[in-house]
Amino acid sequence: MAEDGDKIICRCEEVTEREILEAIDEGCDSVTWVKRRTRAGMGLCQGRTCGRLVVRMVARQTGQDIAEILPDTRRPPVRPIPLDILEQHSEADG
């Protein structure tokens, strides 16, 4: 049973609740800055799992209205694409 604070929030990068709260206390008051400071959201699922949790933690710690907190920027690809598919397409286009 995990001790309080050792709960994993970002499973892909194994970032704990404690690390995220520390980052928020240090001034990372947005999802993007929590990500940059702790790597939460930088992993394989790109924040699909932990994003909402981080939003809630930021809101709770900073007193911001949860509705005001933006998620991190969504960037392509929508889902992972293997590099060789891209390579095949580049050959097709000449």
């Binding site: 960037r75 690809p77 992972p80 694409i81 293997p82 590099l83 891209l86 397409h89 580049s90």
Partner: protein, 401 residues
């Protein structure tokens, strides 16, 4: 309307502006930094964190040599980790001409104490078996490094604040007030800041800022595409792999073995400030990197993003007071290789503003080098021994013999 005052106003919260804020605040200067976004919103928050001595223009070499010394003590100085990895750089030569350029660089850089080696094809194969037979050799600099740009940024920011620097985020600069040929204020979306010195460190937008004071700064913005792939067990040594067509890195840190790929771009290629992922560039860069490291085939791309580079006509940065308007200092145009200079840029700006003279020769970096006419074609061409990002399309890759 708020009315504020500062001795120095810095425009831009990238590594340039932040290191200047720290150095100036530490020297007792009342400094205020303004950014329309937050910390490291642009290039400083989108780059791979490379710190290379290799492949620099001769005028920049003393700057990078001095910067290296400061990088090694920066963690202690700022009181935080910056994940400094002294893993080196490997620049693969795609043809004999490139190898010849690299050999000249080794010879030239030896005088500055930079430790670099030429690897022939066999030596390259031994160092990195995962690299294909495409390159005919490489330039290897084992003392080049990497750092985490987010931690560097935050480190400088926290240290600057500890020394009393003030910050205005989410604040757009709309005008520079100039009276009697001298800067006297910065007009922002949150009011005017009275000041006698303005540092324009606004990256690709430095041109816009300077034009508010009637100064023309020749910056050409170009987008740089980045691709992040899922982790895989490391197959390359942890160096940054560069070539004239792509950049690639696989960190050795456990849990950080994601593969990172970037394209190369420069004026003459795609220009402008669009941050849209360019699929043509993605395809081209993928094809290019797989020619060099075929084992990455099958890896999944999980994210792409874009950072905007700020090029000048000779790919060297611009630093110094401008002649036309007293009190306006430029610190911009780092042409895609500024991160590595960060600790020295802040120091040089502090020396310039506080001491009135710099510890290194900044004459090659004056804005007026572009205005002195007649301009010799020579001075404006990217210098021969300069690893400027070369825009090379995949069909220009010639098989090596």
């Amino acid at each position: 309307m708020t009315s504020l005052r500062a001795d120095v106003v810095i425009i831009g919260a990238g590594t340039t502006g932040l290191s200047a804020a720290y150095e100036l605040a530490k020297a007792g200067v009342d400094v205020m930094l303004v950014d329309r976004g937050f910390l490291a919103q642009e290039a400083s928050g989108r780059n791979p964190g490379g710190i290379r001595q290799m492949g620099r223009d001769i005028d920049e070499v003393p700057v990078i040599v001095a910067a290296m010394r400061r990088w090694h003590t920066l963690e202690e100085e700022l009181g935080c980790s910056i994940e400094l990895d002294p893993d080196g750089y490997l620049w693969v030569a795609l043809n004999e001409q490139e190898l010849e350029v690299q050999k000249k660089l080794v010879e030239r850089d030896a005088a500055y104490g930079i430790e670099e080696y030429i690897l022939d094809r066999d030596e390259l194969k031994k160092l990195a078996p995962a690299i294909s037979d495409f390159p005919c050799g490489a330039l290897y600099c084992p003392t080049d490094m990497m750092a985490n740009p987010f931690l560097v940024t935050k480190g400088y920011y926290d240290a600057a604040r500890r020394h009393g620097a003030r910050f205005l985020f989410g604040t757009e600069v709309v005008d520079l007030r100039v009276e009697g040929g001298r800067v006297c204020g910065v007009v922002t979306s949150q009011g005017e800041i009275a000041t006698g010195v303005v540092i324009d460190a606004a990256g690709p937008w430095s041109h816009e800022i300077a034009s508010m004071a009637g100064v023309d700064v020749p910056i050409v913005p170009c987008p740089n595409q980045f691709i992040l792939c899922e982790p895989m067990p490391p197959i390359l040594p942890p160096f940054i792999l560069i070539s004239s067509i792509a950049v690639c890195r696989q960190p050795a840190r456990p849990g950080h073995n994601q593969v990172f790929i970037g394209n190369t771009n420069a004026p003459g290629g795609i220009m402008g400030c669009s941050k849209a992922t360019d699929y043509g560039e993605l395809l081209r860069t993928t094809a290019n990197i797989l020619k060099i490291v075929p084992a990455f085939r099958g890896l999944n791309v999980i994210r792409t993003w874009v950072g905007i580079l700020a090029f000048t006509p000779d790919d060297n940065f611009i630093l110094g007071y401008v002649e036309q308007v007293e009190g306006l200092v430029l610190a911009c145009g780092f042409s895609g290789h500024g991160f590595a200079l960060t600790p020295m840029i802040g120091q040089l700006l502090r020396e310039l503003i506080v001491d009135g003279e710099t510890s290194l020769n900044m004459a090659p970096f004056h804005l007026d080098r572009f205005e002195k006419g007649p301009v010799e074609a020579d001075r404006l061409r990217p210098k021969e021994l300069h690893f400027a990002h070369q825009h090379v399309s995949a069909d220009r890759l010639c098989p090596t013999d």
